[in-house]
């Protein structure tokens, strides 16, 4: 059996915010990603998606739990060794404008990871840089320009070229398309899918755009207040969401098709503060099917008939399904 590229166990990240208060950004997350697999991670803002992405690459230090990358426990690895490992784990950020050094030419930006991680002669490196630029459909005329002279879509292509420059085993993409226009976004997604086919790199695709995640992911994990409330195969999760939060989240998504009948479950209230987390099930304060037990007991993830894992106390007796009211 193949070994997962990434395996995290019981991972938590807390930020002290002064006055003895603590933001619980990520709470006891278990996840794994197989080689070549794309895991989509969805959740609302403040659900800890980006923090989790960064902790996995050890751009942030975990507070608790373990991260296993390619069979090696990297939770306690010293900074110097992590640096060498970054060759195999790369990241693409949400905002390409601030992710690239404005004083470096695109050519040098793409060559930078090769310079750091791969032992190549100068001319080989130049060739590789141009190959990469071609691979991401960035015209060679752009290589000598500065980031300020490129559009958002072109910059994001340059960021992707940087990320694949060292043939990584895992790429974490933190909202790679959410700052781009619809037509540009489609091109970037296309590119990512091609790259996945070619390099067989595993991807962690973080996004709040459900349509995009559905299109690109093999499996999906839904985050609420720093916890994975449900994870499973994309189609199963979209067709028969088990956790009440997943049901509400998916129903709030508006497909760009007026013929598509939406029956929405509109949640009351807002996400509680991650400083003062609710007791028991984190979702019970907004959950339409919550019972008294939900406020006391922390649910364990259980397997549902359609294959996903969901953490809800009401699954065993079928009380987890929210009734829908028909939309006009």
């Amino acid at each position: 059996m193949t070994q997962p590229v990434l395996k995290i166990r019981n991972l938590s990240k807390r930020f002290p915010v002064g006055g003895g208060r603590v933001v619980h950004a990520v709470n006891c997350v278990d996840l794994s990603i197989m080689p070549g697999e794309t895991l989509g991670m969805v959740g609302e803002s403040g659900s800890g998606k980006s923090t989790l992405g960064r902790v996995i690459l050890r751009l942030l230090e975990p507070s608790e739990g373990s991260i296993e990358f390619d069979g090696q426990d990297i939770t306690q690895l010293p900074k110097g060794q992590i640096r060498r490992l970054r060759r195999d784990m790369q990241m693409v950020f949400q905002d390409p404008w601030s992710a690239l050094n404005p004083r470096m030419r695109i050519r040098d930006l793409i060559a930078e990871p090769i310079k750091l991680h791969v032992d190549l002669s100068r001319s080989e490196r130049d060739d590789r840089t141009e190959d990469l630029a071609r691979r991401v459909n960035l015209g060679s005329t752009y290589l000598n320009r500065y980031p300020a002279n490129l559009s958002g879509g072109q910059l994001q292509r340059a960021c992707i070229a940087r990320a694949i420059a060292t043939d990584p085993k895992l790429i974490v993409l933190d909202e790679p398309t959410s700052s781009l226009d619809l037509s540009v976004r489609a091109g970037i997604l296309e590119l990512l899918a091609e790259i996945r086919e070619e390099t067989k790199a595993a991807m962690l695709f973080i996004s709040h755009d459900l349509g995009t995640v559905r299109m690109i992911s093999d499996r999906i994990a839904v985050l609420y207040l720093g916890e994975v409330v449900e994870q499973g195969q994309t189609e199963a999760l979209f067709e028969t969401p088990a956790h009440p939060y997943t049901q509400a989240l998916l129903s709030a998504h508006l497909p760009a098709d007026p013929a598509f009948k939406v029956s929405r479950l509109v949640l009351e209230g807002e996400v509680p503060s991650p400083i003062a987390l609710p007791t028991g099930c984190k979702f019970h304060t907004r959950c339409p099917v919550a019972i008294a037990r939900c406020a006391r007991e922390v649910p364990q993830a259980i397997q549902v008939p359609s294959g996903q894992q969901a953490g809800c106390l009401r699954i065993p007796n079928g009380g987890n399904i929210i009734e829908r009211k028909e939309d006009v």
Partner: protein, 334 residues
Amino acid sequence: MTLLKVEDLHTHFISRDLDNQICIAKALNGVSFSLEAGRVLGIVGETGAGKSLTAQSIVGLLRPPAKIVAGSVRFEGRELTDMPDAELNRIRGNNIAMVVQNPRTSLDPLTRVGDQLVRLHQIHSGGPKTASHKRALEMMEAVGLPDPESRAKSWPHELSGGMAQRVLLAMALMNSPKLLIADEPTTGLDVTVQAQILDLLRSLVARFDMATLIITHDLGVVAHFCNDIAVMFGGSIVETGSVRDVFAAPAHPYTRDLIAATPERFQMGRAKALGGQPPDLYNLPSGCVLQSRCAYATELCQTTVRNAEVAEGHFALCHYAGRLEEQPAVKINA
């Protein structure tokens, strides 16, 4: 009577370059549409297409170097483009209300939210302050803010994004507007909050019989919330019609690409040459603005395009509107 009628609106950015030569960016080129009471029109388009500028031109919020150079905006039959500011101020915030994209920066940080609502009501309606205060609480209740009494006393920084957007909506409703302009009202909000806000807007439109103009780049919002759609590109409305008609049979190549690029319809590996540079507003091509990006473009496209009616109430600004199928797609700039 048509509530809002925009006809052949041209807005340009007129500035001088380093050589002191006048340069003109033609940001809006002949925008026309009309809006009836109780209808919801969605304007979509990519960044720089002129969506927000259209809204700003309507309510006269343009600042130099932007200037309306031609065209008319009629609200209840009155021309707004050449109206003196003092007169315009009696309409803005009163009969026409606007909700902008970033709710937190559009509230006065040094005034409690309730007082801001009262202030707006006092300016336009006058009357006793207690009546304004009562109205403020009613409106805060109408937009679904829990416990309006205590919320009215909170400061803008104490509100979450969704709540701030609700306060702005309450503010827009204070003087029972006839026209509500919402510029990206849900961008930056989470989907569950977006659903709450859109549901709210929908019920308010029905309850107060307002005409509503929604500017967005989210086709999902348009598909489920608007009656009509106007697609903008390069400062022109390239296609208008009822949402159902346009989604079912988009007549303009740009609309087709846009709809084909939505995640629901997007086919991996079958993407056409989507995207590309927006047109250079300083140097617009003659004829169709899309010609450099359009797969169907021919020499004919360099000549002036007229709005063609492809079905009743469904217009497209394209020489080949309604007969794109006859026209083989030629791949240009390949």
